[in-house]
C-alpha cells in the first residue's frame, strides 16, 4: 500500500479533533493553548501534504505552513504574557475561576 494524500489528511483530521477536544475540555488557559497548537499543526500538516501530492514545484502551502509556525509562536508569546498578568492579578489561570465579568 502506498501512502497517499488521504493518509496525511486523516492524521491531520485526528489531530484537529484531538485539539478540539482539548480546547473544549481543559479549564486551564495553558491547556487550551496546547489544544490550539494541535489544531494549528494539523492545518500545517494538511498544507504541506497537499503541496507534496498536487504536483511538483508547488510551494504555496509550504510557505503558508511557515507562516503558521511563526503565527503560533507569536500567539504563544502573547498568550503566555497575558496568562502571567492574569496569574498576578487573580492567582489562577483557570478560565472557570475568572468570573468577575458576567451577564
Amino acid at each position: 500500500m502506498t501512502i497517499g494524500v488521504t493518509h496525511f489528511l486523516v492524521v491531520g483530521a485526528v489531530m484537529f479533533c484531538c485539539g478540539l477536544y482539548t480546547m473544549s475540555t481543559k479549564r486551564n488557559a495553558i491547556g487550551i493553548l496546547i489544544g490550539v497548537e494541535l489544531v494549528l499543526n494539523s492545518s500545517a500538516l494538511n498544507l504541506v501534504a497537499f503541496d507534496r501530492y498536487m504536483g511538483a514545484g508547488r510551494l504555496d502551502g509550504q510557505i503558508m505552513a511557515l507562516f503558521i509556525i511563526v503565527l503560533a509562536a507569536a500567539e504563544a508569546a502573547l498568550a503566555v504574557g497575558i496568562c502571567i498578568n492574569v496569574y498576578r492579578n487573580l492567582a489562577t489561570v483557570d478560565v472557570d475561576k475568572a468570573t468577575q465579568l458576567r451577564g
Binding site: 491531520g12 490550539v36 489544531v39 498536487m54 502551502g61
Partner: protein, 554 residues
C-alpha cells in the same frame, strides 16, 4: 502566488506603482517604527508620542488621498491585476482606509482627553493600536487566504494586549484572557478551514477557489471538503464580527477594556470583518451568480446564503435580548454592537440575488451602514466616556438627570441612541431602511421555490430585523428616560471642550446624513459595483489559472 515557475518574478509589474498603491500601509508601519524610536529621542512623555502618531496619521491620510486619486476611475488596480495577486487596492479598501483614519482620530482624541495625563506606557499603547489598525486595513484589501489569516491575526493579537493594557486592573486582565482564548481557538479553526480550501484547488486565492468550485460542483467527495473548509473559515470571520455563537468575548472584552479601546474595537474591528465577508461573498457571485447557473444556486449558493442569514438573525436577536438586563452602559453598548453586527451581516446574505443590481444592493447597504454606525457609536461611546471619566461609574445611574446637568452631553446621546434604534430624523433610520430594501429584493427571484428558497430567506430576515428594532427600542429608551425624566440632584459633568465638539459633531453629522443620504448611497453603490465588475472581469483569468494548477503546470 502562482509565481512559481515564472523565471522573472517581477515581469510586467511596475514595482514602484504597486508600492505607491500600498503606501498608506507602509506609512502606518513607518509610524509604528517612529513610535518605537521616539522614546530614545523625545522621551516617553505621552503627549510627544501622541504628536508623532498624529503626524504619521496625517501623512497616511495624505497618501490615502493620493491613492484614492489613482484608483478613482473604479475597478481594481494594483497587484491584483495579476490573477492571484495577494493585495487589492480598489475603491472599497481605500474608502475603508479613510473611515479607519477618521475613527482612529476620534479614538486618539478620546485617549488625549481621558488617559494621556496618567499614561505611563504611551509608546506601547500606540504601537498596539496602530498594529491593529494596519491589520484591519489589510483585512479589507485581500481575498488571499494567507493574507486574510495574517491580517486577522495582525488585527487580533494587538487587540488582546490592548484590552488588558492596565496591568494592575483585575477586570482588564480577565477580559484580555477571555478575548485571547476565544481568538486563538477561532483563528486555529479558521486556519484548518483554510488548509482544506487550499487543498481543494491548489490556490490560496479565494477568488480562484470560488471560480473553480463554481464550475466543478460535481466535485464528488470534495464537496464535503469544500463545505467543511468554508464553515471552518467562516468561524474566524464570525469571531471578528462577534457573530453568535462566537460572541462571548465581546461584552467581557468591551467592559474590561478602557473606554477608548472599547470604542476602537466596537466599530472598526467589526466593520473590517464585515467588509472582508462582503468581499468573499462577492467572489462567489463572480461567475454570474444564481441566474447563470440554477443548479449551482440550489446546491451551493443558497445554503451559503442561508448559513450567513441564519447566523445574522440569531446574532441580532441574542444581542438585543442580552442588552435588556444590563446595568452597565458600556456592556449594554457592547451587546448593542453585537446586534448591529447582525443587521449588517444580514445585508451580506443578499449577495446571492440573480441580478447585478440585486446582489450589489446588499453590499451597498452594508457600506452605508458601516459609515453611519461609525458616527453613532463614536458619539454614544464619547458621551459615555466623558460620564465615566467624571463620575467613575459606567452604570446607568451615572446618567440620571444628564439633560439638566449637562445638556450638551445629553442631546447628542439622545441623537446617537435614537439613530442606533433606527428612528428618523437620524441617519440610522436610512441605513436600516436600505438593509430592509435589499432584503426585500430577495423575495422576487427567479430561482425561488420551496421552503429554503431565497424569498423565504428575504422574508425571514426582514421580519427578524423589524422585530429586533422594536425590541432594541426598550433598552435604548431606558437611558433616554434616565437622562430626561429622572433626577437625583447630582452635579454637572465636567467635560473637555474637544470632547463636546466631537460628540456634538457626530450628532449633527447623523442628522445631516439623513438629508444628504443620496450622495452617500451613490458613492457606496459605485464602490460596490466596481468591486463586483472587477471580480466578474477577472473570473476568466481565475478559471484559467485554476485549471492550469489542476493539470499540474502552475
Amino acid at each position: 502566488m502562482a509565481l512559481l515557475g515564472q523565471t522573472d518574478l517581477w515581469a510586467g509589474i511596475d514595482v514602484g506603482e504597486h508600492l505607491f498603491l500600498f503606501s498608506p500601509m507602509i506609512v502606518l508601519v513607518c509610524t509604528m517604527l517612529a513610535v518605537v524610536a521616539c522614546p530614545i529621542i523625545l522621551g516617553r512623555g505621552p503627549r510627544s508620542i501622541a504628536t508623532v502618531v498624529w503626524l504619521g496619521l496625517g501623512i497616511t491620510l495624505f497618501m490615502t488621498f493620493r491613492v484614492a486619486g489613482a484608483v478613482a476611475d473604479g475597478g481594481v488596480s494594483g497587484l491584483s491585476t495579476q490573477p492571484g495577486g495577494m493585495l487589492i487596492a480598489d475603491n472599497l479598501s481605500v474608502g475603508f482606509q479613510f473611515l479607519l483614519l477618521a475613527f482612529l482620530a476620534g479614538v486618539m482624541l478620546m485617549w488625549w482627553m481621558g488617559s494621556s495625563a496618567t499614561e505611563r506606557n504611551a509608546p506601547e499603547f500606540f504601537i498596539l493600536l496602530l498594529g491593529s489598525a494596519l491589520g484591519m486595513v489589510l483585512m479589507v484589501s485581500t481575498t488571499n487566504l494567507l493574507m486574510i489569516v495574517m491580517a486577522i491575526e495582525l488585527a487580533s493579537l494587538p487587540s488582546y494586549a490592548i484590552v488588558g493594557f492596565e496591568k494592575r486592573n483585575r477586570v482588564a486582565a480577565e477580559a484580555s484572557l477571555k478575548y485571547m482564548i476565544f481568538g486563538a481557538v477561532c483563528a486555529a479553526i479558521m486556519l484548518y478551514g483554510a488548509s482544506l480550501l487550499y487543498g481543494l484547488v491548489g490556490s490560496l486565492d479565494m477568488a480562484v477557489i470560488a471560480s473553480y468550485t463554481i464550475d466543478n460542483l460535481s466535485l464528488g467527495p470534495n464537496r464535503v471538503l469544500l463545505a467543511v473548509g468554508l464553515l471552518c473559515f467562516l468561524v474566524g470571520i464570525a469571531f471578528k464580527v462577534s457573530a453568535v455563537p462566537f460572541h462571548f468575548w465581546c461584552p467581557d472584552a468591551f467592559e474590561g477594556a478602557r473606554i477608548e479601546v472599547t470604542t476602537w474595537l466596537s466599530v472598526v474591528s467589526k466593520g473590517a470583518g464585515l467588509l472582508l465577508l462582503a468581499r468573499l461573498v462577492t467572489v462567489f457571485c463572480a461567475g454570474g451568480g444564481a441566474d447563470a447557473n440554477p443548479a449551482l444556486s440550489i446546491t451551493f449558493l443558497t445554503p451559503l446564503a442561508w448559513t450567513i442569514g441564519i447566523i445574522a438573525a440569531v446574532t441580532c436577536t441574542v444581542g438585543n435580548f442580552a442588552a435588556y438586563k444590563q446595568r452597565s452602559v458600556k456592556r449594554m453598548l457592547a451587546y448593542s454592537s453585537i446586534a448591529h453586527a447582525g443587521y449588517m451581516m444580514m445585508a451580506t446574505a443578499v449577495f446571492i440575488h440573480p441580478s447585478i443590481s440585486g446582489s450589489t444592493a446588499g453590499i451597498t447597504a452594508l457600506l452605508t451602514y458601516v459609515v453611519i454606525y461609525l458616527l453613532m457609536n463614536l458619539g454614544a461611546f464619547g458621551v459615555t466616556a466623558m460620564v465615566v471619566w467624571d463620575t467613575g461609574s459606567d452604570k446607568i445611574e451615572a446618567f440620571t438627570g444628564l439633560m439638566r446637568r449637562s445638556p450638551w452631553l445629553a442631546v447628542p446621546m439622545v441623537a446617537c441612541l435614537m439613530s442606533l434604534v433606527g428612528m428618523p430624523p437620524f441617519a440610522g433610520f436610512i441605513g436600516k431602511w436600505w438593509i430592509l430594501v435589499a432584503l426585500g429584493r430577495l423575495q422576487n427571484t427567479a430561482t425561488s421555490s420551496g421552503m429554503f428558497s431565497l424569498s423565504t430567506l428575504g422574508w425571514l430576515l426582514m421580519i427578524v430585523a423589524v422585530v429586533n428594532t422594536f425590541i432594541s427600542l426598550y433598552y435604548y429608551l431606558r437611558i433616554v428616560v434616565q437622562m430626561m425624566f429622572r433626577d437625583d440632584g447630582q452635579r454637572t459633568v465636567r467635560t473637555p471642550i474637544v470632547g463636546l465638539a466631537m460628540v456634538n459633531g457626530c450628532a449633527v453629522a447623523l442628522f445631516a446624513l439623513l438629508i444628504f443620504a443620496q450622495p452617500l448611497k451613490r458613492t457606496a453603490e459605485r464602490f460596490t459595483r466596481n468591486m463586483y465588475t472587477a471580480s466578474v472581469e477577472q473570473d476568466g483569468k481565475h478559471k484559467t489559472l485554476a485549471s492550469a494548477i489542476q493539470r499540474g503546470t502552475p
